[in-house]
Symmetry: C2
């Protein structure tokens, strides 16, 4: 389905803009105006001539210009009549944030709405959704002000969510964690456009490299499976409503009955969807996926300056079904000849607490050339006295050679935080804890292993 | 074993202070001086008259004053002779940070050291350790400068770690996360004083309410089990070296062979130790434990303003073997009479996205008085438009009545971060994600359930 006009409309009408700036229609209008949107935006309110300092149209039919997208934020009792007005104006794309439909028990309203949409041949996102962001076309129709929810920088992740509030809180955190966003779609009750349509569109979208999805239930399981199987980009999914006991809440939430978790697990497995067990998983897995780092083998070599982190990393590797790489004889010989005797030349390769940048350089470089491993897990405890800020450049240069994926773990607070930020800027994934790093390596490895 | 002189000595001699400020002996001396230690500190260096602007003694025997604790940071080849000097000076408590013993294959040196300690009746912590902090006696013998590793504020957590570097990085994060510390002990190879002695001491320590422990292996399993079983305070443990394949690394690390994980799990279970699967678990569990919040039942009532978070919370509750509480009929009646019809009066209790402080107040207060639940899990998505900063006072006041434990989840970035900090200051545990909150509720519930 061509959803272009939802993401890159040339003109948008917002229905339900009010004199009160806090009302959702007003916030949407304001966000569109403030987001730097290049097209035209029109405010519609049947009772006002001016709202928020802008001209207000009493109906979309009072607007002369062609409208690519109508964003509807009127109360639920008014939705049918404004849809009819939009039809008169020949508006073909509707985004409706209004709630109060099936999710609140009002099934009849859903049916009437569906009939109208079908009659007029409209594409429709919502209702009961939060809106859409396209960072590359400065489209922002969220009904949450910027002061409450920071928007992420431009990037390659697109985020599709059935739940609006979940989407908003995770989006807020995506910004803070420095991830870049292409598109955000909260699709709510999916009366017309559904998750499959959106996935399909994003798979073809040039600014999207990977997709994060929060899903509770789907109406058309076959379409969903077929769409997922066709996807050429990684899809990271988190499923809400895993158990029958928690299904009541999904029903009253987005009006969809959550299917059995086992069925979803089967679908995800068949379609090579990366299944996240928790929100934390999503953020962890993204660290590697968003950098387009492909992990093609399961032999992990640990390098560390702290024994404990080496041990915990080993545990995590075995726990996740990955393999502790074995250093080749020539690597061992080289390292034993160059490292101080207190270092342990094995896996973990323990450079011990007084390791400096050069010792790390030697160890990483040598292991990058060792054919017995597929990925390096570099623990870098920056509390130790002899590491300097230049370690960022050291690892950055070695990583730049693209010999093998390097994943860094650095546990700590402020200084460590700066270090991680600098490494991330050089496209090196950097984790707080070894367990999360290893689980993410496993997820990325599994994705590329199972990819056709 | 009375370890008082390790934590609250009146006089300390540091052996191995050098003219170079970066050397470990110098850093220890500097930290002791800078930490506000009320006792006397003496620098010892056989070749210098002055170090770092202080008088240097050529031997501890040149010091006239009585010495409660000697901190030894000399090279390993010199340790035996300085121990003999300490014996002459009748120093009974030795903390040795020097490495290069069994963990590097030098077993003979260990044996000679043990013989000396036994001969002189010395208490000995180390070798191959990072040092000790006592926040209540301004003792700081870590060989990491303050600029590299932030020290936590005073608090009620004591942290015992076999691995020094692990300890340092976690300590750094403990500070940043705002947790308060009583004591930190890195005990390294535990030639004399071992984990059991330290646990025993901390259990009697007035400023310690709970203990976090990183452990790889113990020498005296029976003593360890007996000690743990005697503990009256919660012990949160993370075990390094869970699998036989990862045991090589623990052997070369602290010179101890990690025992089978199953054995440790058995010990932890018998002694009601809170077993953490990951470093993240430790930080999560602490949020509730450090506030001395006792969770006595497993029926969790979810309150939320975001459906997705409600669903994910439900999933986590079932996944962790807790129970979704059922609202009593009278609570349902009261809530249905007061909440807008769009709200879902069930579990989750969904106040929906336009909930304001008052709606939360009503919901929390009503649920606190409902006998059908034991703990409230309050999801608070602060991206929604109608919540104000006063929500902190609203929840703070309700929590102050001590009716039931309240655990908050608030996913998001800056504004949310401020909210969480304010709630934490009011002794309300605040989590980023529902899954971590629920897992922590389960850990605390299990601890108090199994406590004799």
């Amino acid at each position: 389905m061509d959803l272009r006009n939802f993401f890159e409309p040339k003109s948008v009408a917002v229905l339900g803009v009010s004199k009160t700036p806090e009302k959702i229609g007003s916030v949407i209008f304001k966000n569109l105006v403030d987001s730097g949107f290049k097209g035209e935006v029109f405010a519609v309110n049947p009772n006002e001539d001016f709202v928020l300092g802008y001209k207000s149209y009493h109906s979309v039919n009072d607007i002369k210009e062609k409208i690519d997208l109508a964003v509807i934020a009127v109360p639920s009792k008014a939705v049918l009549s404004v849809i009819k007005e939009c039809a008169q104006k020949r508006i073909k794309n509707i985004l409706m944030v209004t709630a109060g439909f099936k999710e609140s028990g009002n099934v009849k309203l859903d049916q009437e709405l569906v009939e109208l949409l079908s009659k007029y041949g409209m594409k429709f996102v919502g209702p009961n959704c939060l809106g859409i962001i396209d960072n590359y076309h400065a489209v922002d129709t969220l009904f949450i002000p910027l002061s409450r929810l920071q928007r992420p920088r431009k990037g390659n992740i697109s985020f599709v969510t059935q739940s609006g509030a979940f989407g908003s809180s995770v989006l807020d955190l995506i910004s803070a964690e420095g991830y870049g966003l292409s598109k955000f779609v909260s699709y709510g009750n999916s009366l017309d456009v559904d998750e499959s349509d959106i996935l399909d569109y994003l798979d073809k979208d040039k600014t999207t490299d990977l997709i994060v999805m929060y899903i509770e239930g789907v109406k058309n399981g076959k379409k969903f499976l077929e769409t997922l199987k066709r996807m050429r980009k990684p899809v990271l999914a988190i499923k809400g409503g895993k158990f029958s006991e928690s299904n009541n809440s999904t029903l009253s939430h987005t009006g969809s009955l959550a299917g059995a978790y086992e069925v979803y697990q089967g679908v995800f497995h068949q379609a090579n969807v990366v299944s996240a067990e928790s929100i934390q998983d999503i953020f962890d897995f993204l660290r590697i996926f968003e950098k387009n780092i492909k992990i093609r083998g399961n032999r992990v070599q640990i390098i560390t300056n702290g024994g404990g982190h080496g041990v915990i990393s080993s545990d995590a590797i075995i726990h996740n079904g990955l393999k502790l790489a074995e250093l080749s004889e020539s690597t061992k010989k080289k390292l034993k000849g160059s490292l101080p005797s207190i270092a342990t030349v094995s896996n973990p390769l323990d450079l011990v607490g007084d390791a400096d940048d050069l010792r790390y350089k030697l160890a990483i470089e040598t292991c990058l050339h060792d054919k017995n491993n597929d990925v390096l897990l570099v623990n870098l405890l920056y509390q130790t006295p002899r590491l300097s800020k230049s370690i960022v450049d050291v690892i950055g240069e070695l990583n730049h050679k693209n010999l093998k994926p390097i994943v860094v773990v650095s546990t700590g607070s402020y200084l460590t935080g700066e270090l991680k930020e600098s490494l991330e800027k050089k496209s090196i994934p950097c984790f707080q804890f070894p367990e999360n790093a290893v689980k993410s390596i496993k997820a990325v490895y599994d994705y590329y292993r199972n990819r056709k």
